[in-house]
């Protein structure tokens, strides 16, 4: 039977189910490092414990997905759907992430040093996402709540149909989605965002643009929806 030895799990001979079963057995405050995962999908999903889990190297799809509590660190890159539906805890990725980062995220924090693919922060319902690099198209699509901070550029249709969430972009915005509007960040926001970036080891851009909802899509008969 697989066990955790001195805070280390060598995953080379373990199935994904066995790895996740070991993680499910962690107690709050436990620290564990996973090795030899070879970018396997679905690692550290469905966890409630407030343990610290470090994945040596790359992680596949859905790393730290459906979690409520753990702090997960990926020292390499991560695949699509990383931290999807995260409720609390965190995911920190040293490299880049695929599409759908933090999709439907509800709470907690995600920090990505590199860039992400399309649909970053899609349908976010809460929480805080910080991307050191750039994000792909349709990011923050139908974002409901929470904050998405992008230090680099944003792809097309940023913030399409967003509700109450707030987006900040340091670089260029290829285009805004329906019902999204861009305004300069306030001095107070700039200061807070700079501190936020530095606290997480991310170099802040010289300034941020805030993207919020114009709320013209909130009501079916407001008229503006017809152009969306």
């Amino acid at each position: 039977m697989a066990t955790v030895t001195e805070g280390l799990i060598d995953c080379a001979e373990l199935s994904t189910r066995e790895v996740n079963t070991l993680l499910r057995g962690l107690a709050d405050g436990d620290q564990v490092r996973l090795t030899n995962l070879d970018a396997r999908h679905n690692i550290a999903v469905g966890l409630h414990c407030q343990a610290q889990i470090t994945i040596d190297g790359d992680a596949g799809y859905y790393v730290a997905g459906l979690c409520d509590g753990p702090d997960v660190v990926v020292t390499g890159h991560a695949g699509n759907g990383a931290a999807e539906n995260l409720q609390s805890g965190s995911l920190t990725v040293a490299g880049d992430v695929g599409a759908g980062l933090a999709a439907t995220m509800r709470g907690g924090r995600v920090v990505v040093a590199g860039s992400t693919g399309a649909r970053c922060g899609v349908l976010m319902k809460g929480g805080d996402v910080l991307v050191g690099g750039s994000v792909g198209a349709f990011s923050a699509f139908m974002m409901q709540r929470g904050r998405l901070v992008i230090c680099g550029d944003a792809g097309e249709h940023l913030g399409d149909s967003l509700y109450e969430g707030k987006i900040f972009v340091g670089g260029e915005i290829a285009s805004l989605g329906a019902d999204a509007q861009a305004t300069p960040a306030t001095a107070e926001e700039e200061a807070e965002l700079r501190a936020h970036c530095e606290a997480h080891g991310v170099t802040p851009p010289s300034s941020f643009t805030a993207v919020t909802s114009m709320r013209t899509l909130y009501s079916f008969d407001a008229g503006a929806w017809k152009s969306s």
Partner: protein, 449 residues
């Protein structure tokens, strides 16, 4: 009449046929004229609830052929006829039901909490399941339901790992029969404070759900998504995929290839609490055709689809529909609209409230307004109070019980000791269209050998 002037000729015809002057145009009927004028007023497509209204090729075009001399019937009123149904047999803990009928997914938000809870209690009382919807899992619904299917929809409204891990099955919703290819709709009148909080939305917003899942796009990704859900639930419970009946053969094959333990297929007669009107009447294919295509698709996959059950829904009204769908290849069915009618939907009470909506009992499809006169499709406390929980649960139980008795009666008449022994051989078609759609021989065309 000899004039070459068309106007004069028409006028003359009208004089000869006194009804012509008031006869409606077949193409631009009064209903079509009213529809055009309403859209000219609104400046948008029309919205309503309930489901398709047009006449469609239906299960009524099939008949069941019971036993005679060529096979022996079972005693209809007393002999044992099993209705036990198992869904998700590949999972560690499948859904094990006493009857072949479950309650389809309908959201808290579209329905009142009392309605959702009543459905759970009624289903539990007869040993079957109910299903959540596009609004998360209510604690009261969970407590009321011994077996509860948790829907994983594109919106993920109210979706939490805690609820996932207390579910008895997961249903990944790709589409629904009423509006395949389009997401859900909940108008602001029903987005109360509680509903808004459950969905993390602003109160009163006209909520239009996405149709594409946020974290996977195609079947290759779906393979990994299903594995993620299995990891989160330790492979304990079935993972099902729900499809709106459209491109049935390809979609069913892809769902199975992606790892679904069961396929839930919703025909175009399926209901909804709100939809653009034209989608309900003009998209998808009827349940009768869909079940046949799905069964053929499953059977064509050999070992890959072994142990994959087919659950069918969409316009099921009575045990006869259930029996025919089982005979055509369904392993189980779910009901939605019929269950709401059991709760009291369209009941002739509070007639003045129906009138205020511009409708009448028996014709109401105003679920989208949130002003449901009988307290089902509403979030208004004073309307919801009209639905007595205990009585509504009892009526749900009674309907499910009655439908099951009807299926068993028909199965016994065909000489079957299990409702799952019904087969296409127990059917005949009553119309060329139904015969062509199902492959069931047209009645009267059997050739003696």
């Amino acid at each position: 009449m000899t004039s070459s002037n068309g106007t004069i000729q028409s006028a003359a015809l009208a004089l000869e046929d006194p009804t012509l002057g008031t006869s409606p145009n077949a193409l631009f009927s009064p209903a079509v004229i009213a529809d055009i004028q309403e859209k000219a007023h609104l400046g948008r497509y029309r919205l309503r609830g309930f489901g398709a209204r047009r006449e469609l090729p239906s299960l009524d075009d099939l008949t069941i052929i019971p036993a005679g001399l060529s096979r022996m019937a079972l005693e209809g009123y007393r002999e044992h006829c099993s209705a036990t149904t198992v869904i998700g047999t590949r999972a560690e803990v499948p859904l094990t039901l006493d009857i072949p009928i479950g309650i389809a997914g309908m959201s808290y938000g579209a329905l009142s909490a009392t309605a959702k809870t009543a459905l759970g209690r009624g289903a539990t009382a007869v040993g079957t399941f109910t299903t959540t919807g596009d609004g998360g899992m209510l604690d009261a619904e969970r407590e009321a339901s011994k077996q509860l299917v948790y829907q994983c929809l594109p919106s993920r409204y109210g979706f939490t790992v805690q609820d996932l891990q207390r579910a008895d099955a997961v249903e990944i919703v790709v589409g629904q029969g009423a509006k395949p290819g389009t997401g859900g709709l909940l108008l602001g009148a029903k987005v109360s404070g509680e509903v808004a909080e459950a969905r993390s939305l602003p109160e009163g917003v006209d909520q239009r759900s996405p149709v594409r899942h946020p974290d996977w796009l195609g079947p290759d990704d779906l393979v990994i998504k299903i594995e993620e859900l299995r990891e989160a639930t330790q492979g304990r419970i079935p993972i099902m995929v729900k499809l709106g009946a459209a491109r049935v053969v390809d979609d069913v094959r892809l769902a199975v290839k992606s790892g679904a333990d069961a396929v839930v297929l919703d025909g175009m007669e399926g209901g909804t609490a709100a939809s653009p009107e034209m989608l309900m009447d003009h998209t998808g294919i009827p349940t009768m055709a869909a079940v046949v295509e799905a069964r053929r698709a499953l059977d064509s996959m050999g070992e890959v689809s072994e142990g994959v059950q087919l659950v069918v829904s969409g316009g099921i009204r009575h045990g006869v529909d259930v029996a025919k769908l089982l005979a055509l290849g369904a392993d189980a069915v779910t009901i939605g609209t019929a269950a709401l009618i059991a709760l009291n939907c369209n009941k002739p009470v509070f007639a003045e409230d129906y009138a205020a909506l511009g409708t009448a009992p028996g014709a109401c499809h105003h679920c989208h307004t949130g002003r449901c006169p009988v307290g089902i499709a509403t979030q208004e406390p004073e309307l919801e109070a009209r639905l007595d929980l205990e009585e509504a649960a009892l009526r749900t139980k009674h309907l499910l019980q009655a439908l099951t008795m009807e299926v068993q009666m028909l199965a016994r008449a065909c000489g079957k000791s299990s409702v799952h022994h019904l087969s296409p051989e127990d059917l005949r078609a009553l119309s060329p269209a139904a015969s062509a759609m199902t492959g069931i021989p047209l009645a009267g065309t059997a050739i003696p050998t």
